[in-house]
């Protein structure tokens, strides 16, 4: 097995009295494309958001390349890292959101350049070159000067993916990136993700696209009520689910 990038141990997360993640253990290896599936409320999105500290979590550890994310031990106390440290760690993972979240007052190019300029502190022409390269890669080289409001949903999502990937992250997180798209625009976004997978990018995808998960993922994690219900390769899991929960879930989700 190739090198371990991400190690999650005993991850617990609560909202008030509601325990959303009840102890997640999982390791992600370099080049793996992992689809995270499960019904809504199972904790898949929360898991993703904990990995780049968009959510604080109460228990367990997450390590990226051996470095603990978000917290450190101070004697027997567990302390949140400084905002500056957390910002640096967040730049190591890229994230694409269901709602794209492009910055509406910036062109596509400026959206991609922002992190390169302000976080990586690259000179402007270098940042522009990288931005254009990635916009080209997602098929939007000719839309660099457009504002998000002038782009379709699928185009916006592709810019958002370019923005994340241009930072050269160790790991890409995709949070239901096609759920807000019109059906005819889903394909172009999935095509981009497929391309990244072929490049060997390590990815975690929360998705409802079972067909896509089946085709692209090298591994599938089935989340169920805050724990990992099943974890294995897509062929085994989709064809012969071991647990009744997964079998039920697959029956109710459309496989198109």
């Amino acid at each position: 097995m190739s090198k371990t990038i991400l190690e999650i141990e005993g991850l617990r997360k609560t909202y008030g009295s509601l325990e959303v993640l009840k102890g997640i253990d999982c390791a992600v290896h370099e080049g793996e494309v992992i689809a995270i599936i499960g019904s809504s409320g199972s904790g898949k999105t929360t898991l993703l958001r904990c990995i780049n500290m968009l959510e604080d979590f109460e228990g367990g550890t997450i390590r990226l390349d051996g470095e603990e994310i978000g917290y450190h031990a101070e004697g027997s106390m567990r302390r949140r890292k400084s905002e500056k440290d957390i910002a640096r760690q967040r730049a190591l993972t890229g994230m694409a959101f269901q709602q794209f979240n492009l910055f509406p007052h910036m062109t596509a190019e400026a959206n991609v350049m922002l992190g390169l300029l302000k976080v990586k502190r690259l000179p402007k022409d270098e940042a522009r070159a990288i931005a254009l390269k990635w916009l080209d890669r997602v098929g939007l080289g000719d839309r660099a000067g457009h504002f998000p409001g002038q782009l379709s949903g699928g185009q916006q999502q592709r810019v958002a993916i370019a923005r994340a990937i241009a930072m050269n992250p160790r790991l890409m997180l995709f949070d239901e990136v096609t759920s807000a798209l019109d059906p005819e625009l889903v394909g172009e976004v999935l095509q981009v993700i497929k391309g990244l997978a072929a490049d060997g990018m390590t990815m975690l995808l929360v998705t409802h696209e079972m067909r896509f998960a089946y085709e692209v993922a090298s591994r599938v994690i089935f989340m169920n009520q805050g724990v990992i219900g099943e974890d294995g390769n897509p062929r085994e899991m989709f064809v012969a689910p071991k647990t009744e929960r997964l079998a039920d879930f697959l029956k109710t989700s459309s496989f198109n």
Partner: protein, 219 residues
């Protein structure tokens, strides 16, 4: 033969111009100081901790609930009563700036809170610190959002500057009243003063529209 309005206007030209100049100065100073202060108020209302936020909440609620005239009088008479001797001009500008700051504070808070949470999350996700997120993502969007309301407040400040006449600041309204007390042409000169106020506020509004157009995001 009674003197014509134009003759009287010509005679009073310097008095009117000095009044107009003072009105514009008062308004500009109040808007400027009020906006700077107001941005601080707005930031405290939006991002302040559990101690800061209620303090500024009470500040804006009290100021916004008080008539400007009362603020002007309080600023002048209370300050002298406690031994800080402000001249009428300073006291008046202070009162207007404080009034302006409470309104701008609310406008800034509203503008910032209207930005979807996803914007902050996306900025965080690419590794921006809070300061960077604010400077490059939140503030530019909030600015566009609250520009119209801010222009409105600026125009309100010009109108409110007339209240400084009651503490003896020789701005346009007080000057106009002086002139009328000499020539008794109240109708003409009040109308004329009104027209001047309109011109100033119309200018502010046009300028606001211009900036709005310039900063509009294409879609």
């Amino acid at each position: 033969m009674t003197p014509s309005f134009l003759d009287q206007l010509w005679l009073a030209r310097n008095v009117i111009l000095s009044g107009l100049g003072l009105t514009v100065s008062i308004s500009l100073l109040a808007i400027l100081a009020g906006s700077v202060l107001g941005v601080l108020v707005g930031l405290s209302l939006t991002y302040g901790n559990r101690l800061i936020r209620p303090i500024f909440r009470v500040y804006t609620d009290i100021i916004r609930g008080t008539p400007v005239l009362v603020l002007v009088l309080a600023s002048y008479y209370v300050s002298s009563a406690v031994g800080v001797n402000l001249d009428p001009f300073s006291a008046g500008v202070l009162a207007l700036a404080v009034f302006c700051s409470s309104h701008v504070g609310e406008i800034v808070r509203g503008g910032l809170q209207a930005i979807p949470k996803g914007q902050t999350e996306a900025a965080k996700a690419i590794g921006l610190t809070f300061g960077q997120t604010f400077a490059y993502v939140l503030w530019p969007q909030a600015l566009r959002q609250f520009l119209p309301a801010w222009v409105n407040t600026a125009a309100e400040m010009v109108k409110a500057s007339t209240l400084l006449s009651v503490i003896g600041v020789a701005e346009l309204l007080l000057r106009t009243q002086e002139i009328i007390s000499r020539n008794f042409m109240s109708l003409q000169f009040y109308f004329f003063a009104g027209a001047l106020y309109f011109v100033v506020n119309y200018g502010i509004e046009r300028f606001g529209k211009y900036v709005e157009r310039k900063t509009a995001v294409p879609s």
